[in-house]
Amino acid sequence: MSAPTPTMAVRMMRAPRLKRAASWYTVSLGVLVVMTLAAVFAPFIAPYDPNFVNLSAVYQGPSPAHWLGTDSLGRDTLSRMIFGARTALLGPLLVVVFSTILGILLGLLAGWRGGWIDSVLGRLFDVIFAFPSLLIAIMAVALFGKGLVAPVIAMSIAYAPFVARLTRQLIVSERSRPYVAAYRVQGFSGPWIALRRVLPNVTPIVGAQSTLNFGYVLAELAGLSFLGLGVQAPTADWGAMINEAQAGLTGGYFLPAIVPAVAVVIVVVAVNIIGEELSDRIGGGVPA
């Protein structure tokens, strides 16, 4: 018997309500665009060299010369923020790209082949899940040295299982759909169906979910540099900036610490809003 399809009336009831979230989505996109532009054109925008030390102007408050004040070495906070946006964006971007590619491939393998491959990969994911990603990153730093490369690789591996699980689940449900059987009956090979037809049908959903990881990775990488294990001084980095500004906090100079912290929060929230909205838009368009 046919699975009952929703009648017109039911489908109408499900018609999308007015998008309240749309405006926040636009604002978040704006935040991300501004940040990206700042990162790309940092040398042209930044009013000062981010590493220019001016010991005669330490811990200054906001002024027309220094909009966001200066830090303990008299470096311009705004300029450091603008240059810091580079590593802040690049790290998570690389992690999201690598973990998505790795996760999709593993998820596809597990979901399409099933059987023992699925079981083995499933347990492997469980093991990786058991370690906090930050811990893996710290281990990688301990093994391969400080900087951006080791943490990015470690985080890519740590985040791949999230992507892989989702991909696997989508592939499994997709695999049992009649259109896949129809391809088989027509004589197409399994790998062709999996790679050329099923995978493109699930990647938008996986991609949207992956953008959500961007925010988490950004926060974690900032945390890593805060611990002094990520991007190394004197390169401007938000996490490192918070760390360097710690000493000033007790002296009442909170601005150099609060500015990068607030920036991390804003970007993470913006990325999450974008990710949620993308997931809703793509996931909502049920193929029917």
């Binding site: 017109m8 009336a9 009649p178 259109y179 129809a182 197409f188 049908n201």
Partner: protein
């Protein structure tokens, strides 16, 4: 006294589309009124309007009076009162309407305890009474069961019992049997009529099945495009339709009753039928003793198909009829090479096609032997791939056409299934169900198979669309001499397409023979049960009797 009076009901959406247009409808106390129409005709919306279940953004005019209350613009409290005591509704999919985590008892006693303030013991007693009233075998046990433990038919009875807890004056049934097997449908319909009669309820019965409406309803309203096309007593509307739409709908509805010509032909050949040997030439499709069983962890093995043998001569059409779980789809999946057989053999045009193809050559050879059209055209087309592209993929896999030649062949094939050139670039979601099924047929034909398997290929379609698709299949058979294995739960549809029919039950073929013969003189009790379960208008005679009378 008038129970429900809808007059000039109009419903508009904010985007300007008018979904209901001047609907007027009346139900007297104790009367059963049918609302028939195809999908999108507005019949469900009309029914929902009665208990105030309309979309928030909808704008309505006109009036819906239920008992003494005007429903349109009623306050929340008034609506609650109506839903609690005046009208209840049963929906198409019982599984979607029940909380899977709660027991049947919870479901049934909830309303009694919370709305009527009955004690738990009283509510339980009442719930058991109702379960017995809808003829569930063990009310006491069912109270503690969860929805997943019950079959679809049993669950629909629970939903009926649930709808009856409030002793409504009006019961609204929205396609309550569409998702069920025909024998289960007959049982549900019997329960509904029984309850309606014993309680003197009015009933608004929504269905797309004209025969069902004719067998059940005193009066019917035929709806199309948000308007009432025609109304009157069931006999008058179906016996002597006034509007062209109703006439088309009736013509498109497959029936199991035999025409005079068929009965005459049958009477003539009644002696020679058993000797109707298939001739000496090898059949196009020969299935010998095919078996398949599924092992389930911790449960008994299921024999899905047990030693089934069928054969179809070149250019013939064989119908396979059975209810869900009869093994007919498993049979189809083995024939097209989606599942392996445990025992037995499949030969297509003399070549062995028993095993699931592994290598590229095997896959292509198997595909050229058998193609399949699937049940649900909404799921069997890749949502991302345009209609023409999916046909082209198949063509290029099996041939050496360059892209220009492939393109023109695609258009040719689309034309053959009655689709114009512009549909080549259409994504499946922009096509209607019938159009999608045409694309699926064109895609199967692109490979030029020896045998075409159609697995419930029209059961997801509206009757008028179904008729078009069946005509299309008939045309293609005539033009190409295609051999067809037609699988369906609906005897009336099978008989329209197939010369011969086999009836499957629990993995076995219980009866086989000429389709007409099967309808006129079923031998196996199960075939008789199937035939008896098919709703037919109260005034129409039994096909077997008419056949006997003419003989």
């Amino acid at each position: 006294m008038t129970l429900l009076e809808i007059s000039e009901l109009t419903l508009d959406l904010p985007n300007g589309s008018r979904l209901l247009d001047g609907i007027s409808l009346r139900i007297e106390e104790g009367e059963t009124v049918g609302l028939v129409g195809e999908s999108g005709s507005g019949k469900s919306l009309t029914a929902r309007a009665v208990i105030g279940l309309l979309p928030d953004q909808a704008r309505t005019t006109g009036s819906v009076r239920l008992g003494q209350t005007e429903v349109l613009g009623a306050s929340v409290a008034e609506l609650l009162e109506l839903r609690r005591h005046t009208a209840s509704m049963i929906f198409q999919d019982p599984r979607a309407g029940i909380n899977p985590m709660r027991t049947i008892g919870d479901h049934l006693t909830e309303a009694l305890r919370l709305c009527e303030g009955k004690s738990a013991a009283e509510a339980n007693a009442r719930a058991k009474e109702l379960l017995a009233a809808v003829r569930l075998p063990r009310p006491e046990d069912h109270m503690h069961q969860h929805p997943h433990e019950l079959s679809g038919g049993m669950l629909q009875r629970v939903m009926i019992a649930g709808a009856l807890t409030s002793s409504p004056q009006l019961l609204i049934c929205d396609e309550p049997t569409t998702a069920l097997d025909v024998t289960t449908q007959a049982e549900i319909v019997a329960v509904l009529s029984e309850q309606r009669a014993s309680r003197g309820m009015g009933m608004l019965f929504i269905t797309h099945d004209l025969n069902l409406a004719a067998s059940l309803c005193d009066r019917v309203y035929v709806m199309s495009g948000g308007k009432v096309e025609e109304h009157g007593t069931a006999r008058a509307v179906f016996g002597n339709p006034q509007t062209p739409y109703t006439r088309r709908l009736i013509e498109a509805t497959p029936s199991i009753s035999l025409s005079a010509a068929e009965t005459a032909a049958l009477a003539q050949q009644s002696g020679t039928l058993t000797a109707a040997g298939q001739g000496e030439t090898e059949p196009m499709l020969a299935v010998e003793g095919l078996s398949k069983s599924y092992r389930r962890r911790g449960k008994a093995t299921v024999d899905a198909v047990k030693a089934v043998s069928v054969s179809i001569p070149r250019g013939g059409a064989l119908g396979v009829v059975g209810e869900s779980g009869s093994g007919k789809s498993t049979l189809a999946r083995m024939i097209v090479g989606l599942e392996s057989a445990d025992a037995g053999g499949i030969r297509v045009d003399g070549r062995d096609r028993t095993t699931v193809p592994r290598t590229r050559a095997e896959r292509l050879a198997h595909a050229r032997s058998v193609q399949m059209v699937f049940q649900d055209p909404y799921l069997s087309l890749d949502p991302r791939i345009a209609a023409g592209r999916s046909i082209e993929d198949a063509l290029r896999l099996h041939g050496t056409l360059d892209s220009r030649a492939a393109r023109s062949r695609v258009l040719e094939l689309l034309d053959q299934v009655g689709l114009a050139e512009q549909y080549a670039d259409a994504r499946p979601r922009t096509l209607s169900g019938g159009q999608r099924q045409r694309v699926a047929i064109a895609r199967a034909l692109a490979i030029e198979p020896d045998v075409l398997v159609m697995d419930e290929a029209t059961s997801a379609l509206d009757v008028s669309v179904q008729a078009q698709v069946l005509d299309l299949v008939a045309d293609i058979r005539k033009a190409r001499g295609l051999t067809v294995l037609f699988i369906s739960h609906d005897l009336a549809v099978v008989r329209r397409v197939c010369d011969e029919t086999v009836v499957m039950k629990a993995g076995e073929i219980v009866e086989r023979g000429q389709s007409v013969q099967l309808l006129a003189a079923p031998q196996h009790p199960y075939t008789r049960l199937l035939l008896d379960s098919i709703p037919r208008p109260a005034w129409e005679s039994d096909p077997r009797e008419s056949a006997a009378a003419n003989a």
